[in-house]
């Protein structure tokens, strides 16, 4: 059905996912050209459609839920581009048999429910490989399929805690801090796609499919590998220390002009420090021995906040960053969501694509950063309304008749309205 010009064109993916990490894995494969069929039960929607959640106006076009809020939620609509939406009640034997028929002509199955859910649904790897011998199945449990925490539930926030990250992040003596709202979620999205591609390369070379366990906490831990190894080498735990780093000082976010506006500045060398003092008009500081040499400056960096902010607070965060970067000093505005949409850099990278969603209207959506020169992939279609492609998929791919489709609707096995 899909004819996107991507490197994975011709592959079919069944997507049993919810919230962020799993849907993002499917989104990446769809961006790269695979036909991704998102399967939801009308009795259990993707959690990011937030069918039963407290209404939060920030998540809806013009702040309005509309008649079908599950089709208008920014959360769901941020991660399901290019996908086809199929509703099937897999607890019903007829629904399950339809999933089996689809699996028999699919290449990949992705799932980020808790460990063992695919088996309980009757679509585990051992079952599916009898239907399609070279199928690739990935499950993305928080902690893994084995071990003391195998049955523990997880989400991005608790995974960042469990991966050892949060304990390294925070104000001095403050609580461990979660980041990016739930940073391990998109990490899981990427890791899921990377794992699937690895298995695809093996299948292309040998014809053999396989099962992938992608434990999200363990995969995320790779991203702080050197910090963990340093703790082991020194036999001591890293302590939260605000924005400090080993290699630069000062290295922090400073107040810029406006309300809650911040600019980050990273001074790596003594020469950069002299340049900063000249640009900012701190002649006294340039020769102050508390700051002139790196080691002293590092020890005394917290005392610099007031002086640096006496300069930064007078200027826009964008201007300061431009000015410092022009002299070779690393600096950047701390951008909020509105700034992202106005960013000249992201605009030059075509980081946003304008898409029209049938129930949410026309908006600019962030796209993915992989740029392939010959088989580029693309984000061309807004996230699907619930069940938007049910009839199309069951007719064109499985060859069901109109009367069979009507019967599925009557019995509630397919439905584009949440139960």
């Amino acid at each position: 059905m899909s004819t996107l010009p991507g490197p994975l064109t011709g592959l079919r993916v069944l997507d049993f996912t919810t919230a962020w990490a799993g849907p993002m894995t499917g989104r990446i494969l769809a961006f790269l050209g695979a036909e991704v069929i998102k399967i939801e039960s009308s009795k259990r929607l993707d959690g990011w459609r937030q069918h039963t959640a407290v209404f939060n106006p920030k998540r809806f076009p013009d702040g309005e839920a509309g008649e079908r809020p599950y089709n208008r939620n920014a959360l769901f609509n941020s991660q399901n581009f290019n996908k086809l939406s199929l509703t099937l009640d897999t607890k019903n034997p007829t629904g399950l048999s339809l999933v089996h028929r689809l699996a028999a002509i699919s290449d990949i199955v992705i799932c980020n429910f808790s460990a063992g859910t695919l088996d309980r649904m009757g679509v585990g790897y051992e079952t599916l490989k009898t239907l399609k011998s070279d199928i690739i199945v990935i499950e993305m449990p928080g902690f893994g399929n084995s071990g003391a925490l195998a049955t523990a539930m997880a989400n991005g926030a608790t995974m960042e805690m469990a991966a050892g990250m949060c304990a390294m992040i925070g104000y001095p003596d403050g609580p461990p801090t979660t980041t990016g709202q739930v940073y391990p979620d998109p990490m899981g999205g990427y890791n899921g796609a990377a794992a699937v591609l690895t298995a695809l390369m093996h299948r292309q070379a040998t014809g053999e499919g396989q099962y992938i366990e992608m434990p999200q906490v363990e995969a995320s831990m790779q991203f702080i590998g050197e910090e963990l190894l340093y703790a082991f080498a020194t036999n001591s735990n890293p302590q939260p220390h605000g924005n400090r780093v080993r290699w630069a000082a000062p290295h922090d976010a400073y107040r810029a002009a406006g309300t809650d506006q911040w600019v980050t500045i990273a001074v790596e060398t003594d020469e950069e420090w002299q340049t900063l003092c000249r640009l900012a008009g701190f002649p006294g500081l340039a020769s102050d021995e508390r700051y002139a040499a790196f080691a002293n400056r590092w020890d005394n960096q917290d005392a610099l906040r007031e002086t640096i902010e006496s300069w930064t607070s007078q200027h826009s965060k964008f201007d300061i960053a431009e000015q410092l970067q022009a002299t070779g000093i690393r600096a950047a505005p701390v951008q909020d969501s509105a700034d992202l949409h106005a960013s000249p850099y992201l605009k030059a990278r075509n980081a946003f694509v304008r898409l029209t969603h049938p129930e949410a209207g026309t908006h600019d959506y962030q796209t993915l950063p992989f740029k392939l020169s010959e088989t580029p992939g693309a984000q061309t279609t807004a996230s699907p309304c619930l069940g938007a492609h049910t009839r199309q998929i069951l007719t064109e791919i499985l060859g069901l008749t109109a009367s069979e489709l009507d019967e599925l609707d009557r019995s509630g096995i397919t439905s584009n309205i949440p139960a």
Partner: protein
Amino acid sequence: MSRQALAGFTVLDLSESVAGQFCCRMMADFGADVTLVENPGGSSIRSTGPFDPKTGESLLFFHLNHGKASITIDTGSEAGRDALFALLDKADAVVVGKTIDREEIARRNPRCIVGFISDFGDDGPYAHWRGSEMIFQALSGMMYVNGRPDREPLYGVGHRASYAAGVGAYIGLLSALYARKSTGRGQIVSLDVAMNTSSMAPPSSLEYAYSGIRVRRGDDRQPFMSLKCCDSWVGVWIYPHTWASFCEAIGRPEMASDERFTTGALRQQHWAEATAMAQEMVGNLPSDDLVDRLMKQRVLVAKAYQALELRDKVQHLIDRNYWQSVETDNGPRTILGPAYRFSATPRTVRGGPPPHAPANASESAPANAGRSA
């Protein structure tokens, strides 16, 4: 040795970046023959911290390069350039940064996948900018939401944006390798760390496009709660259907019917009070007890593990044989377990990172890998 997913692929790592070296290390993890190409002074990552205080080794270099071979090439000399081109002509994939002419590689070896990873690309308004973890996080929209509303935003830790970009590049390179079977041709795969980071930012960017409402730092922490036990911090995520179970588990069941907390909207409004009341109950508890109690009630919870605890005490990781080790010139060193566990093609690490061989065109295998270079 079991079969390897990327067996038979030859990869050159000329990236000189955390993102590029991580991308190539993943390829080595899953079976590609990866060679780190170093100048006579050695990769700059060898002199980037953190360092092992006993041996002086860069632990960043170790983590990014185990399982790779190394070759030293002085690309400033004619002989060096010839040696490099000879390698490039045989490579399936090459990862480079801004200083190498990627078009020339693509012309010489049209079947090669050329990965180009840089902070901001070599065109566009920030082409001259310098990046680092805090810079990427600041620009991405992520840093803005980290921390307290009355204080400076926090960037995070380490090089997570660069690692993520490494995975992004791995996705791009593998998909291009996959397509090569049908197209018969290589291609150039480009990725900016800065754009990659913003692609992972929270959906608040779309929320703003939808509603015009900006999420502020510190807003919206409900339903997440950090609680300090007598020995450690614990993070709890309380869905509406687990609120009563949470109150029960902390020994304050009457909180569930407290009129300040009966609906999600009310809890949102009174979250600081709810957190303070829960904190009173758990301050003297060992964190493992609280985690056990909450897990029994199916409340989403995790301890804020410390690094040493992850190595020595977390039974789950011990059960799973998570920590492994490789040989290095200084003896065995711990490595992290595999990111992905494949039933047919599990990760096999060939050895520690390659020692630096300073002479031109000299090669070294992964440390103590027991194979010929």
